[in-house]
């Protein structure tokens, strides 16, 4: 794994999702992007569905500090402790894993290891995982605290960038969605509109 892409580490984990704390404040991967981490000898892939920046102490509220500052950067310069007191984390839904040379689009046998490093997945990995679109079911069925449809649309848009012809990939994925949502035409329509 490429050290340069390391973005954080797992601080809460389950079979279906993991929470990553980012090393840099405000530096969470974009909604829908694919990240990877590790569980024993498995590489686990997840889709970012939620990210937040908050105080590291649950009882301590963040207060506004920039009244006299000209720029936002000045706020950080004037309060260097902020980098230590605040943190950004994100949640990723597990959509598949790789073991040895095989890639599978369903839940891994183990949850991601705690403190395992988390990386952005590169285009090759995105392509390998999205060769088959079985994982769309995991996304559609995932009971997420945010709008699932937005996450799916965002993920497909991000993943399409890994392909030479993003449109072909999107149509293929759209068709898979159309099958899965054959009894929910309105939801299909809403996702398709978000994708495009």
């Amino acid at each position: 794994m490429d050290l340069e892409q390391k973005i954080g580490e797992v601080i809460e984990t389950s079979n279906s999702e993991f929470l990553t704390q980012c090393y840099k404040l405000d530096d969470a991967p974009s909604l829908g992007s694919m990240v990877k981490t590790r569980a024993k000898e498995y590489t686990i892939y997840g889709v970012v569905y939620y990210s937040a920046t908050h105080s590291i102490e649950p009882g301590r509220r963040i207060i506004a500090r920039g009244r006299s500052a000209e720029t936002e950067e000045e706020v950080y310069k004037a309060n260097p402790q902020l980098e230590r007191l605040l943190c950004t984390d994100f949640r990723a839904l597990v959509i598949g894993y790789a073991h040895e040379s095989a890639v599978r689009q369903h839940l891994p046998p183990f949850p991601a290891s705690i403190y395992a490093f988390v990386y952005n997945a590169n285009h090759e990995e995105v392509k390998r995982l999205t060769q088959s679109l079985n994982f769309l079911n995991l996304l559609l069925e995932g009971r997420l605290p945010v709008m699932t449809d937005d996450v799916i649309a965002a993920f497909l848009r991000c993943a399409s960038q890994a392909y030479e012809s993003p449109r072909d990939f999107l149509i293929k994925a759209g068709k898979e969605l159309a099958w899965l949502l054959s009894d929910d035409i309105r939801r299909l329509d809403s996702i398709l509109k978000r994708i495009n």
């Binding site: 449109r167 999107l170 149509i171 759209g174 068709k175 969605l177 159309a178 099958w179 054959s182 009894d183 035409i185 309105r186 299909l188 329509d189 398709l192 509109k193 994708i195 495009n196």
Partner: protein
């Protein structure tokens, strides 16, 4: 077994169906429904066999009926491409007609009629050139190239040897190309088989050059097979006018007309049943040879004696007189024909040549029915004797004879087909090596029994429900073929079904009439007439 590598276009997969009703194929979204037309061929890869069938219907379906009440926004091209084939899809109805012996393509395949259907989700592809060629064969010494399947360049070939063994029909509305097709078929028969033709050419279209609907001239049979075809004419004035020379001018003696001929003309001459009966009585009274002339004499005299003797009512007499006077006006009818046209025609036929009898300007239906029936009856009887002789003395039978008649419903309608010679030929068929090629625009007028005896039917556009029912009576997959038939173009397209082909086929009729088209239409090299084409070119 050899795998041929011509690429096939995948169409979709089988989703349901039955042997009698045909199978439903869900079409892949990559193919536009607008590219698929009924009448096209498909090959289906079953588990063990390959099937060959024809598309007979196309329909639009939706996986969820709600999608139809709330249509997706297809103005967005992305959404349009996604929903096509998923939320909405196209279903194609295929009638499997043949099974090919093996799953893999090979040279040893023999198409068999389909007795089962392919399994669920079998892959369906548009038939390749190779598939079509395998089913309809290549042009060879007995197969004649008649046209191409729709949207394909492959040749559809008719097995002429099989064709002439039975009576056949060419049907279609006026102006749909019946004459063109018939001319092609006749050329095929002359080129690919040892068969004599007798053609009753009502509108002078087969012997010498005719005019196509595009107003260019097309060569007739005599020009293409000068050594094999003799043109007989009923009207020498017409020949002079057209500047052609017929091989023989036919006159019909009144002494050759029999009461059956008059009975056949009953409707055309407006005769009553009593008048027809009177004709038979008169013939018994005066003898078969003289009855007509004697009757004319009676019309001119005022003698009532015979009438009374034969108990002919006055009204019947008047009806008979009006009818028979109409016949008298036909110029080719003479008291006694000096040369025996029937014998001359028969000589040509026995020697394997073909005879076109042109009616010149006498192209009214009455003359046609009279002459065709009279000549055919006599020729058939003589021909039959020859065949019987040949059988008795164990010699070779005379060549197969095909008699071509137009307006066939006049001879073969259910009222009179039992009496006419054509009805007998159509029924007795091959026993005496004589078959018919009937051409008609109202097939519903032809007796059902005769229709059922036709071996191969070539059907151009027909839109009358009765006619369509009549031509397709008893054909498996009738309702499917009906939809194919009603969608034929009005020109140059025809549905062929029956004995000479392994399965029904819609063809675009091959080109005939342009300079290049004659190259393959003449006599085959090595036959008596070969080289005549070149001599012909010099002449023209």
């Amino acid at each position: 077994m050899k795998e041929k590598n011509d690429s096939s276009i995948r169409l979709g997969s089988v989703i349901s169906g039955s042997l009698t009703g045909g199978v439903q194929v869900k079409m892949d979204p990559s193919i536009s429904v607008e590219d698929i037309s009924v009448g096209r061929y498909v090959a289906i890869r079953g588990e063990k066999k390959r099937f060959f069938g024809m598309i007979t219907d196309v329909s639009l379906e939706a996986i969820n009926p709600r999608a139809l009440t709330m249509p997706p926004d297809i103005s967005d091209p992305f959404i349009a491409s996604v929903v096509s084939g998923t939320t909405t899809y196209v279903k194609v109805h295929v009638l499997p007609a043949l099974t090919l012996s093996s799953k893999v393509r090979g040279d040893d395949e023999v198409p068999q009629p389909a007795k089962t259907i392919p399994s669920h989700f079998s892959e369906v592809e548009l038939a390749s050139q190779y598939d079509v060629e395998m089913v309809f064969g290549r042009e060879d010494k007995s197969r004649f190239y008649i046209g191409n399947p729709l949207d394909m360049e492959t040749k559809v070939c008719i097995d002429i040897e099989e064709l002439v063994k039975r009576s056949n029909g060419v049907f279609g509305k006026s102006g749909t190309g019946k004459t063109f097709l018939t001319r092609l078929l006749l050329i095929g028969i002359m080129q690919k088989s040892h068969t004599s033709n007798l053609i009753f050419d009502m509108h002078n279209e087969y012997g010498w050059e005719g005019t196509s609907e595009k107003e260019f001239k097309v060569k007739g049979l005599k020009q293409i097979f000068p050594g094999k075809v003799a043109v007989f004419s009923l009207d020498e004035n017409y020949d002079r006018h057209r500047r052609v020379k017929s091989d023989c001018v036919v006159k019909i003696g009144r002494d050759e007309i029999e009461p059956e001929d008059i009975e056949l003309l009953k409707n055309l001459l407006n005769l009553t049943d009593a008048s027809v009966q009177a004709v038979y009585d008169l013939s018994r009274r005066f003898g078969e040879k003289n009855w007509l002339d004697e009757t004319y004499k009676l019309f001119d005299s005022d003698s009532d004696e015979i009438k009374k003797n034969l108990q002919i009512h006055e009204g019947t007499w008047r009806n008979l007189r009006r009818g028979l006077r109409t016949l008298q006006r036909l110029p080719f009818l003479v008291p006694h024909a000096s040369s025996d046209a029937v014998k001359t025609i028969l000589d040509y036929i026995i020697s394997g040549k073909s005879v076109v009898l042109q009616f010149g300007s006498y192209d009214d239906i009455m003359a046609y029915v009279l002459v065709a029936n009279l000549l055919t009856r006599r020729i058939y009887n003589l021909y039959r004797e020859k065949v019987d002789d040949a059988i008795a003395s164990d010699k070779q039978k005379p060549y197969q004879l095909v008699i071509t008649v137009e307006e066939a419903h006049r001879f073969l309608n259910s009222e009179i087909s039992a009496q006419t010679i054509f009805g007998r030929i159509a029924r007795e068929m091959r026993k005496y090596n004589v078959t018919m090629l009937v051409i008609d625009q109202r097939p519903s007028g032809i007796d059902e029994e005769i229709m059922s005896q036709l071996g191969t039917k070539i059907i151009c556009l027909l839109d009358n429900e009765k006619d369509v029912d009549a031509v397709l009576a008893g054909v498996p997959g009738k309702s499917d073929l009906k939809s194919v038939l009603s969608k034929l173009e009005s020109k140059q397209q025809a549905l062929i079904l029956g004995h000479a082909l392994p399965m029904p086929v819609v063809i675009r009729v091959r080109e005939y009439g342009s300079a290049g088209s004659y190259r393959d239409l003449g006599p085959l090299p090595g036959t008596d007439d070969a080289g005549a084409g070149d001599r012909l070119k010099d002449l023209w």
